[in-house]
Symmetry: C2
Subunit: 199 residues, 2 copies
DNA sequence: GTCTATACTAGGATAGAC
DNA sequence: GTCTATCCTAGTATAGAC
């Protein structure tokens, strides 16, 4: 018992850090608290992650990877139906929002917290939103919607608005309204294959 | 009544603090930097504002007052046309978003930064969004729109989404898309007086 | 008296050394 | 794990200029 191989020490640290970072904000969490929460030593933490910045980067990196897996899982079965895929992406984001203790999008929160555009957190958060925008644009183009750039911007606004307003107006309400808004957005721009966007 | 030699000392401090708080985030700004920026002494700052928390509260208070004045100015000439008033509120918010150096809604940023629901900042930020929601609901009811609660939630999502996505997708784009989304939302729910929501 | 400027306390931050 | 170095934080108190 005394001797733990801890093959996943890095994971345990990242688990503790992620929870604290999200729940209380990156700037409000000290390294000491992360150490106490995960029960590791300070040297261990700094050996696995060289600095707090790196730990933050790893936190956002893992979330990004998880999000990419989520949308792959959600859109995979709908290959060939890009309109349904768009709605599935919105629905996947909406599922997160319903969770207890939801405190907004981790990337948008990081953006609000770290103003320096050159910081790793800022760049990762910006990249996250831009990749969501690009995904919507790609799918809108595949659906042969007129003006994919406009509709993808609309969808980004709907998703980020859902995430930002949810802590105030309530997760389920925000999720439902956002899904309806997205469906309506797709119907409004018309195009050949938007029948799937009917309520 | 003790006369004050510098009647605007409080204002100057609040100006400096507001700019720093917004540009870099509340938690990233120290009292020392505020003092150096506004050129006042530490004594003065702590006499006018008892603590950093109070200074933050004054910062948000003033923004709230300015915002209330903005919507009063925007909706005043449109009395009797609640649908146009809703669009005017969205347009007023959109104007802010276009500004150079826009870094998101100050209230939403505060919410992201301070997780403690009992803190003054958290409460003021929550109140701000809820009051926007209530304003939309009141106007939607005045316009005799069916389901004012739903349409007001949609409008809140559109506005907060515009504010949150603007730093990433660009202020003007976000502003234009949000105004179009709001107009479409009003047209979609129908009602007797939504012709003003036509593009 | 009213201001600025600075010294100071007490604590918490990151980070490194052992 | 503990201990230390260095820095920054909020906030108070003192010193000195006008």
């Amino acid at each position: 018992m005394s001797r733990r191989p801890t093959p996943d020490a890095s994971e345990r640290i990242l688990d503790a850090a992620s929870r604290l970072f999200y729940d209380r904000g990156i700037n409000s969490v000290g390294m000491q608290e992360i150490i106490e929460t995960c029960g590791c030593g300070k040297n261990m933490l700094y050996r696995e992650f060289g600095s707090k910045d790196e730990l933050v980067a790893a936190y956002l990196d893992r979330l990004e990877t998880e999000w990419q897996a989520t949308i792959t899982r959600a859109t995979g079965p709908l290959a060939g139906d890009p309109v349904a895929q768009i709605l599935a992406v919105v629905a996947a984001a909406a599922d997160d929002v319903r969770a207890d203790g939801y405190r907004g999008c981790a990337f948008l929160n990081t953006l609000a917290e770290t103003a320096d555009p050159n910081s790793a957190g800022h760049r990762q958060a910006t990249k996250h939103v831009k990749s969501l925008q690009a995904l919507f644009r790609r799918l809108a183009r595949a659906a042969q919607l007129p003006d994919p750039a406009t509709v993808s911007d609309e969808l980004v606004i709907i998703v980020t608005g859902m995430q930002s307003s949810a802590p105030v107006i309530g997760g389920p309400r925000a999720a439902n309204r956002a899904r309806q808004l997205a469906a309506r957005s797709l119907r409004a721009v018309g195009g050949p294959a938007t029948s799937a966007a009917a309520d």
